[in-house]
């Protein structure tokens, strides 16, 4: 086992541990920290999948934008530690575990039936190829994404204005 494999295993452990922390921790701030850990771990997995541009985008968008947005929402909503008693109930935990285990066992069969492949090291998608793909073959999804982002910005502004008017 060389150094790359050890770092790979550490990355996977960080990803799964962060995800478990994001789901199971009692405080919502710890959940956000677990989400950030998971994002960094997935960026490392993208590097191992020979896509460094995607890893950079992952860190830039998720860690830089979405997590900061969630952190600001937590800070604006205020103290969430006032009701620590009813945060976790046993029945709800059992129900969540049941629902998730059904989906897990349903998809484990699909994963086990896929042919185990071993990648060659010639896979390399450069940024130039991604740009050409977006502007040649995927023009319609690209434009729809721009439209969706514009609608989201306008919707967020309208929500903020309405809340100020109602107060």
């Amino acid at each position: 086992m060389n150094l790359g494999e050890i770092i790979f295993l550490i990355t996977i452990l960080a990803t799964l541990g962060g995800a478990a922390m994001a789901v199971l921790s009692g405080s919502i701030v710890y959940a956000m920290m677990g989400l950030v850990t998971t994002m960094f771990g997935i960026a490392g997995l993208y590097v191992y999948l020979n896509s460094p541009f995607l890893a950079m985008m992952q860190i830039l968008i998720y860690v830089g934008a979405v997590s900061v947005l969630i952190a600001f929402a937590i800070m604006l909503i205020g103290p969430l530690y006032r009701k620590p008693k009813e945060w976790t109930t046993v029945g709800k935990f059992v129900a969540a575990l049941g629902v998730a285990l059904v989906s897990l066992f349903m998809f484990v069969r699909f994963v086990m039936e896929t042919f185990p492949r071993v990648g060659n090291s010639s896979f390399k998608i450069t940024t130039k190829e991604i740009g050409r793909l977006f502007f040649n073959n995927l023009v319609l999804p690209f434009e729809l994404i721009s439209l969706l982002v514009v609608v989201a910005i306008l919707g967020a502004i309208m929500l903020a204005l309405f809340s100020r008017g109602n107060k």
Partner: protein, 107 residues
């Protein structure tokens, strides 16, 4: 060369599957709306990891999986912005953000 552990398809698929499992469990288990949103981000990250892994191992000659993962990132960012705006409005109206107590969404 083919013996390396990170050159194997199933590891990435199982990591993505575990992210999906934890995300579904979190959507049901979490009480607050922000916790549910965090779990949905986990599900979307699992989907992106799945797409990139299948692109790298099954069809390495084009980059559709990478492109669609970028599209998923854009969708997740827009969704998080809108959802957090709605959560702020719910907090201003009800003074809490617990999902189980929201009986009505009208004015």
């Amino acid at each position: 060369m083919t013996d390396l552990i990170y050159n194997n398809q199933h590891i990435y698929l199982f990591v993505a599957l575990f992210l999906l499992f934890l995300g579904i469990a979190g959507v049901v288990y979490r009480r607050t709306l922000i916790g549910m949103l965090v779990s949905m981000e986990l599900i979307m990250n699992g989907a992106g990891l799945n797409l990139v892994a299948l692109n790298r191992f099954v069809s390495p000659e084009n980059g559709y999986g990478v492109a669609f993962t970028l599209i998923i990132m854009g969708i997740a960012a827009a969704e998080a912005a809108i959802a957090l705006g709605i959560i702020m409005l719910i907090f201003k109206k009800y003074k809490h953000i617990e999902g189980g107590d929201l009986k009505e969404m009208k004015d």
